[in-house]
Symmetry: C2
Subunit: 126 residues, 2 copies
DNA sequence: GTAGACCTTAGAGTTAAGTGTAAGTCAAAC
DNA sequence: GTTTGACTTACACTTAACTCTAAGGTCTAC
């Protein structure tokens, strides 16, 4: 039977607007329709949406996601290219993790510094 | 003497446009001027810009950075509030790191899956 | 004394990624 | 049989974060 757009919005955490927007933009491949022309999502769609969210949330611009998805439509011949794009993105994610770790430390130091200033101010008031 | 906006743009990696925009928006506190009205940055400014970039690049919206910076102007009394904001953001960063690590794994699996499909296709062609 | 490199402001334009609205179709419930 | 609710499209609007342009001031080098 398939899922309605409402159900998929709930399951994916994306809004109905966003889902339609993604399909319009080619971020999501064309979704099949029921006899009334209503979108009819299936489990594969949900799986793909989950991958799309993962790419998006790790900073891939939707234009790039679109490119990746459009390769899927070309079948097996584009597997190496798809894999290459993912590998490139994986490098990106790893860099970001390192970057975030460095900045987590920096913020940590700043917090400690502020705490020490507060201690100092307290001591001066006594 | 202080640094010109051009120098600071080079040192910080932000564009001159962005630096002016940040000052206009209150993301950056008002920068002192020379006798011609030209901005005259100092090392403290550079340090603050580095913190701002760190907050921004770890996902803090500039509206929030602005709030944080405006507290700095209030002196010692706002230290606890500033510290609270940083701690909140630190939690955010840590969550993001975990999230990214999970998705790095997911992408890794996907890559391995694609590689296995490629192997399979190659085998079928022989 | 003027050309060029630097700076200034005000305000308009851009881009990405949605978000919302209007007008309409369709099926089920009352 | 009409109201309600979920869906459709086309298109306009929004928001964040810049980015650019126009018009002009000032200093330095020739």
């Amino acid at each position: 039977m398939g899922y309605s757009i409402k159900t998929i919005a709930q399951k994916s955490g994306l809004s109905q607007y966003t889902l339609r927007y993604y399909e319009r933009e080619g971020v999501l491949p064309e979704v099949s329709r029921d006899e009334n022309g209503n979108r009819c999502f299936h489990d594969e769609d949900l799986e793909l949406i989950s991958l799309i969210c993962c790419l998006k949330d790790t900073g891939m611009p939707i234009a790039d996601i679109k490119q990746f998805i459009s390769l899927s439509k070309e079948g097996h011949s584009s597997l190496p290219e798809q894999r290459r794009l993912l590998q490139e993105h994986k490098v990106h994610i790893d860099e970001k993790i390192k970057f975030f770790q460095t900045f987590a430390e920096k913020v940590e130091h700043k917090i400690a510094y502020f705490a020490s200033l507060e201690e100092q101010a307290k001591a001066e008031n006594n």
